[in-house]
């Protein structure tokens, strides 16, 4: 039993990603989409919190990342870019999806 969490807001503008991180359980996955992808960039205070999320898999939607001009080389370590097909696959692999709006 595990959850796919989606976060679509910039972590610099809202506290949404922080709240998601506070509630993700071991075995869960967090997928950053839309403006949420900015949270995946290295070198920020937030990146440290992401790195500290133990047992949670981190993903980012590549189309949203590329749209915003962010190279995958800048992603925090362990964060995996996926496409929409990968998003669908993640949704099937977890028992439920929770959108952090």
């Amino acid at each position: 039993m595990s959850t796919l969490h989606t976060v679509n807001k910039s972590p610099f503008a809202t506290t949404t990603l922080a709240s998601c991180l506070n509630h993700a359980l071991e075995g869960d996955a967090i997928l950053l989409i839309e403006d949420g992808v900015y949270g995946g960039v290295v070198g920020t205070e937030l990146a440290k919190a992401l790195a500290a999320a133990k047992g949670v898999s981190l993903y980012v939607l590549s189309g949203d990342l590329t749209a915003r001009g962010i190279d995958t080389a800048r992603l925090v370590k362990g964060m995996k870019p996926i496409d929409y097909a990968g998003f669908v696959a993640l949704a099937t692999e977890h028992d439920r999806a929770q959108a952090w709006l």
Binding site: M1, T3, S19, A24, L25, R96, Q98, A99, L101
Partner: protein, 135 residues
Amino acid sequence: MSEIKKFLYVNRKAPYGTIYALESLEVVLIGAAFDQDVSLAFLDDGVFQLLKKQDTAGIGVKNFSPTFRALGDYDVTKFYVEQESLTERGLTADDLMDITYEDEDDDYEEKPSIRVVNRDEMAAIMGDQDVVLSF
């Protein structure tokens, strides 16, 4: 449709500034007719929805907070409120409305619907659902 699923309504937004809280409540009311296992989660700014003494006369908007107190009659009796969200906002459980239901399995005794839980408990509740509706 005999299958019973666990439905969680996640409320993370304050009332009135935006419509999410009101339109979440409208789903809960309709959803109550479907005999599913319903829980409501209030965390982050969602805890503001349950504050006592809301009085919207001055802004010309409908005060929908009394509707929460009616939900017990629709068998919606599990309101999980996150302690950490209250504390961060300078609030305590005493600031929340009295919301109760009559427990038909216990001689219709009146019981509180609001259950204050800590963050880990809230995370566990979220991780134990079939359907999560986010508002």
